[in-house]
């Protein structure tokens, strides 16, 4: 009687799973996507699946086959990224401009934007995950996918399904792509100097536990290593968020400030950073972004809006909202909370030293891509007047506007809580929010179309 051939069984199982993934990819390739990016991601996954299949047939090593089987199971779960990248699961008109902006910031990246069920925005580096997982396997099977010389760095960027129609909120995607710039900042730091700084802060560890030496030197060393790790993680986790916030503000201006305020309304403002994410307290984050808002000269721009009942109402409401955020940041309860935590105190000493460098670093990385509020008063007043009439805010004097101006107009109108279309007698409801979001989405469709048509028209004329 033949022995149970484990390798063959695992191989058969892996091939079955790969066949299932291929079928799902085929089915997903027939869907409607707002850009070509998801289809390129499908082709990339198909090449990866084909490489795995060939390797399974060629390799008899049981460990290798088991490793492939485990990887195939993970790969199968990533098919879901594509399922929610198709129409109508995502706000399609916002995808192309966001994708273009993100790939301009990180030119080596390819982006798939998709919706996810949990309420969160997130960026995942898929390609590097695959590279790491397949590193131990023969590379020649993946030379046309993961290990190709010009292999794109695939990133999957998620937005929350619940808020998919809330176009204004999606400026938070600027924060997500900001993580790639934060990576560049952190990887460019002087590691040795940083190590010395953290070691000095850890010291003898008695600030954490006065009896640290009681259980012997090995125990003390372990504690100090854990403290080192926590201070380092809290510092880099905090800087990741703060740098990403500044990137998003540079990309979207006050829209980002309004978006993080709205998205964090249900959050504790002074929560001390906790392991894993190490997010800074919201109040601390607002403080950094408000500094940028003031430094970039937005208060007088917003104060310049006016000249009609609607525009005066919008100006007053927006300035009031921003002053409220300024007031929040003048309260230092977040800093007191940090100072009440021995590890956070030390991590934030290091963060405070770096914070002043962030804006100039971000500016150097975003050359030409930052949001510039050109002709702010004329443009915003016309866009806001269109919204008040129930018209998508896509054009000013017949000329197309940048999608970021459209989103800012949407936010300014939204903050004012005026009905859409405006009517002095109407009572504002959630319906007005929905109508506003639809108009902004339509305006984004139009800005894309007008721009592309104009380019084509000019080419035709040139010929």
């Amino acid at each position: 009687m033949p022995h149970f051939a484990e390798a063959d069984e695992v191989r058969r199982r892996s091939i079955y799973l790969l066949t299932s993934i291929s079928e799902q990819l085929l089915s997903l390739s027939a869907r409607d996507y707002p850009t070509e990016s998801p289809k390129r991601f499908i082709a990339y996954l198909e090449r990866l699946v084909s490489g795995l299949h060939r390797l399974l047939l060629a390799d008899d090593n049981t460990d290798t086959i088991k490793l492939i089987c485990r990887f195939v199971k993970d790969l199968g779960s990533h098919v879901r990224f594509l399922e929610t990248a198709s129409y109508p699961r995502i706000p399609w008109a916002v995808i192309a401009p966001m994708e273009n902006l993100m790939t301009s910031i990180v030119p080596e990246a390819e982006i798939v934007l998709r919706a996810q069920w949990s309420w969160n925005y997130r960026i995942r580096q898929i390609a590097s995950l695959y590279k790491e997982a397949l590193e131990a396997l023969p590379h020649e099977y993946f030379n046309d996918s993961v290990f190709a010389a010009n292999s794109p760095a695939w990133n999957v960027v998620s937005l929350p399904t619940m808020d998919r129609g809330n176009i204004l909120m999606h400026v938070i995607l600027g924060h997500e792509v900001g993580h790639r710039i934060a990576d560049q900042f952190l990887s460019g730091e002087d590691e040795q100097a940083l190590q010395q700084e953290i070691l000095a802060l850890v010291g003898d560890g008695k600030w954490f536990d006065i009896n640290i030496e009681q259980n012997g030197p090995l125990f003390a060393m372990n504690i100090k290593a854990a403290l080192f790790r926590q201070i380092n993680d809290m510092r880099s986790g905090g800087l990741q968020e703060l740098i990403s916030d500044i990137v998003a503000f540079h990309l979207f201006g006050p829209s980002f400030l309004f978006a993080i305020r709205e998205s964090s309304l249900d959050s504790v403002l002074d929560g001390v950073p906790i392991p894993r994410s190490y997010h800074p307290p919201w109040r601390y984050r607002y403080r950094q972004v408000i500094r940028e808002y003031q430094r970039q000269g937005y208060p007088p721009l917003l104060a310049s809006l006016g000249g009609s009942l609607i525009l005066d109402t919008i100006r007053q409401a927006c300035l009031r909202q921003l002053e409220d955020i300024v007031d929040l940041t003048q309260d230092t309860t977040d800093i007191q909370a940090i100072q009440g935590d021995k590890i956070a105190t030390r991590a934030y000493q290091l963060i405070e030293r770096v914070v002043p460098q962030i804006p100039s670093f971000v500016e150097s990385k975003l050359q030409g891509l930052a949001f510039v509020p050109n002709e702010f008063k004329v443009m915003q007043e016309q866009l806001l007047s269109r919204i008040a009439l129930g018209i998508p805010p896509a054009e000013v004097d017949g000329k197309v506007v940048n999608f970021r101006d459209v989103i800012l107009a949407g936010w300014l109108y939204r903050i004012s809580r005026l009905p859409v279309p405006f009517s002095a007698a109407a009572v504002v409801s959630v319906e007005d929010d929905i109508t506003l979001q639809r108009l902004v989405h339509k305006a984004l469709e139009y800005t894309n179309t007008i721009e592309e048509y104009g380019r084509w028209h000019n080419q035709e004329k040139g010929d």
Partner: protein, 207 residues
């Protein structure tokens, strides 16, 4: 019916009373007495479904029945949409319109499409003050499948003056894409769907 000069004048009026057609990608869309409308990117397709019938009058069932028997579709620029003989697809104009309170409008097929068998609108009148995209009920009454593409000029809209300013009081609030019908929201429906409570024998009698 408004002439080209009058249409251009209406488009240059102060914003509150302006005729808006946005985006007007090419000035040639404005003809002698009409404006050409292009086909938008989003569609609702009626599909085969295990729904015994569709009752647009049934307030409770209509929305679920519609969701079961209709499917949303995006056709990006450069892609095609095939309309088979007898098929109904709901689309919209690419353009977003706002009619001032003194103008009404009619939407008609462009004759070249009509000759190919395409009927583009079955609800052709646009009320003064209407704001939104124009819904196009696309039907192929010919014998051969028709290939359509977003952005093509598919319909034309003709404007006319109304006697006095009219405030729009329709059901559709700034539609930006194809929407399901709302016949079930008609306020008179409860009366017409209820059985008469007056006995037939209770009519006038001779005394």
């Amino acid at each position: 019916m408004l002439s080209k000069t009058q249409i251009l004048q209406a488009m240059a009026a102060p914003l509150e009373r302006r005729l808006i057609v946005s985006p007007l990608l090419d000035p040639s869309q404005i003809g002698d007495v009409s404006v050409d409308l292009r086909l938008g990117f989003e569609f609702v397709v009626v599909k085969r479904a295990n729904v015994p019938s569709v009752s647009p009058l049934d307030k409770k069932e209509a929305p679920a029945q519609a969701l079961k028997s209709q499917e949303s579709m995006l056709v990006p620029r450069g892609q095609k949409l095939v309309l088979h003989p007898g098929e109904l697809i709901v689309g919209t104009s690419l353009e977003y319109l706002r009619l001032p309170p003194n103008l009404g409008a009619y939407v008609t097929s462009r004759s070249s499409w009509g000759r190919a068998g395409l009927v583009i609108a079955t609800a052709v009148a646009v009320a003064p003050g209407y704001t939104g995209v124009i819904t196009l009920e696309l039907t192929n009454v010919g014998n051969a499948p028709l290939v359509l593409s977003p952005g093509v000029r598919i319909a034309q809209i003709l404007f006319h003056q109304v006697g006095a300013d009219v405030t729009y009081a329709g059901r559709y609030r700034c539609p930006t894409g194809p929407e399901l019908g709302r016949i079930h929201e008609d306020p008179e429906l409860p009366f017409w769907l209820a059985q008469s409570s007056v006995p037939l024998s209770s009519g006038p009698t001779n005394s």
